[in-house]
């Protein structure tokens, strides 16, 4: 009988050295006392029961990287991309651990060292993060192309003829996920400055987002309708840039900074100055959580630091803003034709509930709508698997989470799922197609707007 070789100390750690994590304040990393209370809220731990796929495990790895015991290895990098970035762990953590910060710096290191680089990954990332999502006109042009592709019925034809199989595997998987693109963009639907009939209660800046703008521009129109109905003057800068959250969460910290600067400039151009606004509003949970952190993001930029602080102080999620402002009671009933109340359930976008701790306001608003009955969704704050581009990069875990979400939705028997984030809407709409459900996915602003207007449609076919 041989005696087994026992491996200790650790094998070498073939990877690169970190910069961002290394510079991160020791306090941020030491904040985690590895108590484990966050584990049951983490979707990747729940599914695998493996410590490495838990917040505590990931923080421990990041700490080891920062302290030089582990390099930025491929395994470490894959782990940090297996994380959804859903931030459920941040809500659960009593110790106040700033997971977002660590996670973004870790992904920053991963991209800077290039441990995950393969030709196709670099190409796609370069194209999307550096090319498309930094150029609003290009994004819209592509959106237009996709609209024509879908509107002409070409998508169905391509699918039918199985032409899609000719495309590379990644694209094949992506195609059915692709949301329906809107015929109009926000700029076509919303004036740069819109003013309510009576004297304005507040003057607000409106951020139209990029995914929201491409796929749910009507939600932006609905949001402005709701704001006008609530007596707000709305300033909507033209050709807005992506807020940079995609870049921030995906390790492109420098581009994220650039996007932040451009957004601040654009808002100032349209509004006069940030001083002239009572609030800067977003209706996309994922963006809001990032937009509120421009102050951290730009704190080392002498030209923008002060304005970024001002910016962050004014950014509000739309639900949060309306509740603080005191909402005007919506008028028309949305009850079903047979008089039964419209049953609506509410799915919480991770970055609204965990990132911004906004959970009560959207529910309060929905409950105000005449003819609407709010039914609670089990595990409403459990990630739906959309998680930015996670549904593209980690399709398997993403689809498991979607199935779990769709099952919970089915149990409510509601006919509408309200949620405040376009990323979730794309995922949930895909879920309805995949799981054969006829539930409608709607933004709370759309439901509110319908009630104020007394009809479904905003400017165009809805």
């Amino acid at each position: 009988m041989h005696s087994p070789t026992i491996e200790s100390p650790l094998p070498p750690s073939p990877g690169a050295k970190p910069i961002y994590l290394k510079d991160l304040d020791f306090g941020v990393l030491a904040q985690c006392i590895h108590c484990g209370l966050c584990l049951p809220t983490c979707p990747t731990y729940d599914d695998t029961k493996l410590e490495r796929h838990s917040p505590r495990g990931r923080i421990q790895l990041m700490k080891n990287v920062a302290e030089g015991r582990l390099d930025v290895t491929k395994t470490f990098a894959e782990e940090m991309y297996f994380c959804l970035g859903c931030l459920a762990c941040e809500t659960a953590c009593p110790a106040g651990v700033d997971y977002t910060r660590m996670f973004e710096e870790a992904r920053g290191d991963i991209e800077r060292t290039g441990v995950l680089n393969t030709e196709s990954r670099s190409w796609i990332r370069g194209l999307l993060l550096r090319g498309v999502f930094t150029r609003p006109w290009l994004l819209r042009l592509i959106g237009r192309g996709m609209y024509l592709y879908q509107a002409s019925g070409a998508d169905r034809l391509v699918r039918k003829l199985a032409l899609i199989r000719l495309a590379p595997k990644n694209l094949q998987e992506l195609e059915p996920l692709a949301p329906r693109i809107r015929p109009d963009f926000s700029d076509d639907l919303i004036g740069e400055i819109e003013t309510p009939a009576a004297k304005a209660r507040a003057r607000v800046g409106m951020l139209t987002g990029c995914v929201q703008d491409l796929t749910y521009s009507h939600v932006n129109r609905d949001t402005v309708d709701v704001l006008i109905a609530n007596g707000c003057e709305v300033v909507t800068p033209r050709m807005q840039h992506c807020c940079g959250s995609l870049h921030g969460h995906n390790g492109e910290i420098e581009i994220a900074k650039d996007m932040a600067r451009r957004n601040i400039d654009a808002m100032e151009r349209s509004a006069g100055s940030l001083d002239d606004l009572d609030a800067i509003l977003t209706n996309a949970g994922g963006c809001g959580s990032h937009l509120k952190h421009y102050d951290h993001l730009l704190d080392d930029d002498p030209r923008y630091a002060a304005r970024a602080v001002q910016w962050s102080a004014k950014v509000r999620d739309i639900h949060e803003f309306l509740v603080t402002l005191g909402i005007v009671k919506p008028t028309h009933s949305l009850a079903e034709p047979d008089g039964k109340p419209l049953e609506v359930t509410y799915h919480e976008s991770c970055h609204l509930c965990h990132g911004q701790k906004i959970t009560k306001q959207p529910r309060d608003l929905l409950k105000l709508i005449p003819g609407v009955k709010l039914v609670e969704l089990a595990e409403s704050s459990w990630c739906c698997g959309s998680a930015g581009v996670y549904n593209i990069t980690q399709p398997e875990m993403s689809m498991k989470l979607l199935a779990r979400k769709m099952a919970n939705i089915a149990k409510t028997k509601a006919s509408v799922v309200a949620n405040g984030n376009p990323g979730c809407s794309v995922q949930l709409e895909f879920g309805t197609r995949k799981h054969g459900s006829d539930v409608e996915i709607a933004h709370p602003m759309t439901l509110l707007a319908r009630s104020y207007r007394g009809k479904r449609q905003c400017g165009f076919q809805n």
Partner: protein
């Protein structure tokens, strides 16, 4: 290394044998501050047969085996010794049987404590032991640590609910101990030896637990104090008045402010201390007890006593209390928690002593705990990089232990000895008692492969 992994792969699928550097680092700790170790491999077992095969293999080759549940232990029990095999039990999580006729539930060791509680609740029953970590701790870990909880005063601790267990012994053989009978004196009560054995005597794979009927009514109260020792006096007075509430939980000012920072449930931030009190049982008895407790609290100097409006508010208070330890980590980089326990009549002396020690050594101490059990968690809020302060922490810790022992108390009420309390054990229990433990260990684990170096060397 390949040998070890290859060998184990003969009886456990390769994808459940973790040995990458990243995985080993992620299993290098438990919930205890400043303890780390690196295993040679971490094996995710799923069946008793796999546990047996693994333990047998390790016994044959003299490799240490460290059992691990969810790694929330607070004395370093599941921190790996270098080069050991970690036997991780979180994937052994099947609920095997709920027996409503005999009021028992039979589970695998990796089932989460809260799940047992939920299942019991679903059929009108109660599984009383509810450690602060219950949403993630495993039942196996609870049994191995003999964990307490927030209801220990009235309902007792984990030991009081274990009716039987399946154990893999140090040579890989299997025994079943106990049964569903409420009475059983057929020989030694062997299962009791494994309760609280911290993974050093055997790996507990299945557990038969006792459930009790869920009390019909419950009342939760929050008493506020401007002096810490007044809260301790209240506890002693309630018990002296022959009232046994189910919960008497204490939080001092630092702790309650940390908890409030996290949970935002409206705790009185300027109080010096609060006492979370709960009575349960028959509705009339609960009303009566609660009224008496309010009265006693006020007599002992409570400045205010609030009664929870509804079940939701009561749950919010208890849940917030459970986060106390982790919430204290907000204050400083290093959080070192103690577990000194004294007879309940001595609580006031103990609380005063902890305050005095903190002041004398210029240390920040947040204290909370299961006051009804005499079990306090004085927690040092410090910085491991400040060596001078760490020296003072060590002296203060020793003084607290010595004082607890002098009052007839113990160095650990529920977290176990593990690595963290090992140096203090001989003084706490004496040579004779320690010698007996060592004999038992040598008899059950002659090669010393099960969690070596924990409790004693």
């Amino acid at each position: 290394m390949p040998h070890l992994v290859q060998d184990i792969a003969a009886f456990i699928p390769l994808d459940r044998i973790l040995h990458s550097r990243e995985d080993l680092l992620a299993y290098g700790y438990d919930g205890t501050a400043a303890l780390h170790g690196v295993a040679a491999a971490v094996v995710m077992v799923q069946t008793t047969a796999e546990v047996q095969a693994l333990v047998k293999y390790c016994a044959e080759h003299g490799i240490a085996v460290v059992g691990r549940g969810s790694g929330t232990g607070l004395s370093g029990g599941s921190v790996p010794s270098n080069g050991c095999v970690v036997l991780c039990l979180t994937q052994m999580d099947k609920v095997l049987e709920l027996d409503e006729k005999n009021l028992t539930i039979f589970v695998e060791c990796g089932v989460i404590t809260a799940k047992v509680a939920e299942i019991a609740d679903g059929v009108g029953l109660l599984y009383p032991p509810d450690p602060g970590s219950m949403r993630i701790s495993t039942i196996g870990g609870n049994v191995a640590e003999n964990s307490g909880g927030l209801r220990g005063l009235k309902y007792g601790i984990t030991r009081d609910y274990v009716m039987g267990m399946e154990v893999v012994l140090a040579d890989g053989s299997l025994v079943w101990l106990g049964n569903k009978c409420v009475k059983d004196v057929a020989g030694y009560s062997m299962k009791d030896i494994f309760i609280g054995s911290e993974g050093t005597l055997g790996i507990i794979t299945k557990i038969l637990l006792k459930l009790v009927p869920r009390p019909q009514a419950k009342k939760t109260m929050l008493a506020t104090y401007s002096r810490m020792d007044a809260a301790a006096e209240t506890v002693s007075a309630i018990i002296a008045a022959k009232i046994i509430p189910c919960t008497l939980e204490f939080l001092d000012k630092i702790t309650l402010n940390c908890v409030e920072d996290y949970a935002k449930i409206g705790l009185p931030r300027d109080a010096e201390a609060i006492l979370l009190m709960e009575a349960d049982g028959h509705p009339a008895a609960v009303e009566d007890q609660a009224a008496k407790m309010v009265e006693i609290a006020k007599q002992c100097g409570a400045t205010d006593v609030q009664i929870a409006r509804d079940a939701d508010e009561a749950t919010r208070l208890a849940s917030a209390r459970r986060t106390a330890f982790s919430a204290l980590a907000r204050v400083s980089p290093t959080t070192i928690l103690e577990d000194a326990t004294v007879p309940r009549s001595e609580l006031t002396k103990m609380i005063r002593f902890v305050q005095e020690v903190g002041a004398r050594h210029r240390l920040k101490i947040g204290t909370f705990g299961h006051m009804g059990d005499g079990n306090l968690h004085p927690t040092f809020l410090t910085d491991e990089k400040n060596l001078d302060e760490m020296t003072r922490v060590e002296i203060a810790m020793k003084e607290i232990f010595d004082f607890a022992i002098s009052l007839g108390g113990t160095i650990t009420g529920e977290h176990g000895v593990g690595l963290a309390k090992k140096p203090f054990l001989p003084a706490a229990i004496g040579e004779a008692s320690l010698g007996l433990m060592k004999k038992l260990k040598a008899a059950l684990d002659p090669k010393g492969i099960l969690n070596p170096g924990k409790i004693f060397d």
